[in-house]
């Protein structure tokens, strides 16, 4: 019985970790990718008056960060419920 519970918790944890990895991938791509490494290449495109790379570095990445944190919070709440570990289920 205890083993199966440990298994469930291991599964819960690995779901959490893989969600985190996906979020960090996007985090990395918008800031270090679009904002720094590929900035010169992206600057050939325009977003209104913004060169695209410059926009990612000074505006876009910050907006994406905000979205990512809320997305993670939202997803984790449903994973918590799925595994019955949310605090209301206490």
């Amino acid at each position: 019985m205890r083993d199966s519970n440990d298994d469930r918790m291991a599964k819960y944890w690995s779901k959490n970790v893989s969600l985190m990895l996906r979020v960090f991938l996007i985090w990395f791509v918008v800031s270090f990718g679009c904002g720094i490494v590929f900035v010169d290449w992206l600057n050939q495109f325009r977003f209104g008056g913004y060169p695209m790379g410059f926009w990612f570095a000074q505006q876009g990445s910050v907006f994406v960060f905000v979205g990512l944190v809320f997305y993670y919070a939202h997803k984790m709440s449903s994973i918590d419920r799925e595994f019955g570990v949310d605090e209301e289920a206490d």
Binding site: P51, A57, A73
Partner: protein, 576 residues
């Protein structure tokens, strides 16, 4: 009403508000004092975190740094916001689940060691003290510029306010004043920005305005700025990089990890009721921060353009020094702006070439502080900027002082030296250490040590290289032992201090920098301010290596780690 009285009125009203809140929100227990009773609404906590985090540097200096660095200034924008993603995912929910009062307390329990807790206290105090000096200076400067009182008088007034609400209310008082301070500072920041964006582009939202055409023309604002700065010999605004790509990456990552490791920010997430709240609260905090951080680049570019078109209205047509506007005269008095007529023609020639440039000093801080005057905004907007700058400095100072005070009373006194004291005695001790911390910070504000200028970068370097890795490994690995953690923290701090000192001087004393502040000597071209990430990598490596050859943590600790990973799992181990 003249500007002076208006500024007194606005600043006075905000101070009255902070004191009023302090009287209502008094702390009745250590739980109130350290974590505001643990019942703070996640949105409210997000607002308080935003004020806690955004310091005098964010409010006063950041837009100016971006204005003169252009694209290179993006490291601050991405670094200081991207850190919240790390904090929200890797630390905040688990430390909230742990559910005690301080960051060193977690390190002590997880690494089953009072020495680990002691090392954590040391890192926390060094990093918070260095940070608080900057806030104290910000308070003194804001007072002296806007209210025309002495730096000392201004500092003293600021100290009295912080003393009053922090000693009386602890975290509870700080939380509710920070919420008020966030409202003051965000209004003060965005209103001038909206006005300027409207003037220049016709769009009210600065984030849109920055990507739009200048009113009455078909030229984009950023294209115009690129052209104006290149004409004067500066590097193009939108592509002016800060060192190599590797340096940009290292700097951004150091600021991110440093942000996630700052104890005064982390501890704000101890104050919400649930694990789920800690996750959403981090999102709210970042949203409230993003409002200022996406406005800052617009303020930067627009103010730089305004400044340049004031001194050179048409290409090759320079402003006569005799006809300089009033704000120019005002800021000359403060020494933040100065003119030297090198070719004796009575005209202000601004250029990138140091031989012919006649605007010999344009301080970064001018961009935010003088911005409303340059754009000819009404006096009440200028008064608001003064109140906003003070709110930013006061809220961060209070958060830092609380982190220091709780480390002393809860970790050192109750945790290590005198575990037998009662709760009442500990509450008294926490008030006394808060009072002492305010006095020490005030003293350092009156006599800023010579190294103060370099210290904020050092605070980030230390947080990145010591506190963050210890916390992250504590949550994500069951294998890291106490020997590993302590060795890792010491190695991380050691290498970061060593690198910074060898380029910037031991304790920042000029002349003791044995490798010199020369780009050629930088490790892979990474500037000293960006070295925190290397310190962090070393901390992780040392901790893993030492843990592999020492005894693994006891079962009770493994149970504790398992329990903080799951929101509703009780920890039944005997350790806690």
């Amino acid at each position: 009403m003249d500007l002076q009285s208006l500024t007194y009125l606005v600043v006075g009203a905000t101070f009255a508000l902070y004191i009023g809140i302090a009287i209502v929100a008094r702390a009745g227990s250590t739980r109130d004092f350290y974590i505001a009773g643990g019942g703070v609404n996640p949105v409210a906590n997000g607002m308080a975190t935003a004020a806690d985090w955004m310091s005098a540097a964010s409010f006063i200096s950041m837009a100016g740094m971006i204005a003169f660095m252009g694209y290179g200034g993006s490291v601050f924008l991405m670094g200081w916001t991207g850190g919240f993603v790390i904090l929200a995912l890797l630390l905040a929910p688990y430390l909230r689940k742990y559910g005690k009062f301080t960051v060193p307390e977690f390190i002590g329990d997880r690494y089953y060691s009072k020495s680990a807790r002691g090392v954590a206290v040391l890192c926390l105090i060094i990093c918070s003290i260095t940070y608080v000096i900057g806030q104290m200076k910000g308070i003194g400067v804001a007072f002296s510029r806007f209210l025309e009182v002495d730096y000392e008088t201004g500092l003293l007034a600021g100290m009295c306010i912080v003393f009053f609400y922090a000693v009386l209310g602890g975290m509870k008082g700080i939380t509710y004043t920070q919420i008020a301070q966030y409202c003051v500072l965000i209004f003060a920041y965005t209103i001038p920005a909206i006005f300027i964006s409207l003037q220049l582009t016709g769009f009210a939202l600065p984030q849109i305005g920055l990507g739009s055409m200048l009113s009455g023309t078909d030229v984009y604002l950023l294209d115009r700025l690129d052209q104006v700065v290149s004409d004067l010999g500066f590097r193009e605004y939108t592509t002016d990089s800060r060192g190599s790509t590797l340096n940009m990456v290292a700097f951004t990552l150091s600021l991110m990890i440093g942000t996630a490791g700052l104890p005064h920010v982390i501890v704000r997430f101890f104050t919400v009721p649930k694990v789920r709240d800690a996750r959403t609260s981090a999102g709210w905090a970042l949203l409230f921060i993003a409002i200022l951080y996406t406005t800052a680049p617009a303020v930067a570019a627009m103010a730089r353009l305004n400044l340049m078109s004031t001194v050179e209205p048409e290409s090759g047509q320079y402003l006569s020094y005799e006809e300089r506007p009033q704000w120019f005269r005002n800021w000359e008095v403060t020494g933040l702006l100065s003119f030297e007529d090198k070719n004796q023609d009575g005209l202000i020639q601004y250029s990138a070439h140091s031989v012919s440039n006649e605007l010999v000093k344009v301080d970064n801080d001018i961009i935010v502080l003088a911005n409303p005057e340059i754009a000819k905004l009404p006096n009440w907007v200028i008064a608001l900027v003064a109140a906003g700058g003070l709110a930013a400095a006061l809220s961060t100072a209070a958060g830092l002082l609380l982190a220091i005070a709780s480390a002393i009373s809860h970790d050192l006194l109750k945790g290590i030296f005198r575990p037998e004291i009662s709760e009442r005695q500990e509450l008294l001790a926490s008030r006394v250490s808060m009072a002492l911390a305010v006095l020490v910070a005030g003293y350092l504000g009156f006599n800023p040590p010579g190294f103060a200028a370099g210290t904020v970068a050092l605070a980030f370097g230390l947080a990145a290289s010591s506190i963050f890795p210890a916390l992250m490994m504590g949550i994500f690995s069951m294998r890291i032992s106490k020997e590993g953690a302590v060795a890792g923290m010491l190695a991380g701090i050691g290498i970061t201090l060593f690198y910074v000192f060898q380029h910037k001087g031991i304790m920042f004393i000029p002349g003791t920098a044995f490798l010199g502040d020369l780009t050629a000597n930088w490790f892979f071209g990474i500037e000293p301010n960006a070295f925190g990430v290397v310190g962090a990598v070393i901390n992780f490596s040392v901790a893993f290596t030492v843990s592999a050859i020492t005894r693994p943590p006891p079962e009770a600790v493994k149970k504790m780690v398992a329990s903080i990973r799951v929101p509703n799992l009780k920890n039944d181990s005997s350790l806690v």
